[in-house]
Symmetry: C2
Subunit: 185 residues, 2 copies
């Protein structure tokens, strides 16, 4: 049966670092943001924060709350992988869509707003906020699609408040190992 480690967390919390840790252990990584950014480009728009947010919203309006998860499941099916880490879950509806097709563990990577703003400034991806105001707007957009609920209902919470990238990766790898042992018992 397909096993999915579904990773959620606020912008800048460290989701990708955690997800990447599992790639080294043979997990296939699918980035929900990539699906949204690809769809944004397909619609002729630059994949900045505003446009990707709007495309995410319209995808959900057109195809339901689990629209992005459904697109991810299509990608997963095409790869044929049986252990997948999904990077960037944003709502409980998405988690439920995954649970209909796989054994799922929901992992939240957490850091305070202060810490996330610092981490995002270091990262500087095209859709990352440049000012505190843009950062807070982006947080509100993510919360608006239900990411707070997904974080609140996570099966595992991993703190990135004081961790180095290696420590965060190590925590994620350990948690995935424990889970794989639990579900194969």
């Amino acid at each position: 049966m397909l096993r999915i480690v579904a990773i959620t967390g606020m912008p800048g919390a460290g989701k990708s670092t955690a997800a990447q840790a599992l790639v080294g252990q043979g997990w296939k990584r699918v980035v929900m943001g990539d699906v949204i950014r690809a769809e944004t480009r397909r619609r002729g728009l630059e994949p900045n924060a505003k446009n990707t947010g709007e495309v995410m919203k319209s995808l959900r309006e057109e195809r339901g709350e689990s629209a992005v998860a459904d697109l991810c499941l299509e990608v997963i099916t095409r790869t044929g992988a049986d252990r997948v880490v999904v990077d960037g879950v944003r709502s409980v509806a998405e988690v439920e869509a995954f649970r209909e097709r796989a054994l799922v563990i929901l992992v939240a990577v957490d850091a305070s707003p202060e810490r996330r703003f610092e981490l995002l400034k270091e990262r500087g991806r095209s859709d990352d906020p440049l000012t505190r105001e843009m950062f807070e707007e982006r947080d509100l957009r993510e919360l608006g699609v239900g990411i707070g609920e997904a974080i609140a209902l996570a099966d595992i919470m991993i703190s990135n408040e004081h961790a180095t990238p290696d420590e965060l990766a190590g925590e994620m790898a350990k948690a995935a190992d424990r889970w794989m042992k639990d579900v194969s018992d």
Copy 2:
């Protein structure tokens, strides 16, 4: 200036254990749920989960999203305390109401749904859920008022997934100490 440690977290996560830890260190504890339960009784209703949920909703409809926080601030003012731990913050609007009147640190106490269900079964308070279905309904009611957003935006996340009550209390006390040092620098 008034200092508030505002504690949020899903039902059963361990908010009260964390809050109680600060009482031993001279903080005044104000329980938002007590304010709601008192108001529920004042309206002639039994303070069970369903009624307190409805009263919380109607308070917000009548007096705005920060209604319960505003009632708490009245209680705090009457006590004259300058260090207060508020147990049971349920939305960002409430946090903002506190921030207008005090230096505030928002602490989320976190545990997985599995763990919280176990802890609630052990606790058995009058408004605690008896079945998994009631537990999930209660979670949804709390998420409906915005507790997920408050958890996602917490300044400090304390895990109660594997902690004993003493360990949880110790973590909370340490975090409050660090914060008091930070804000007096």
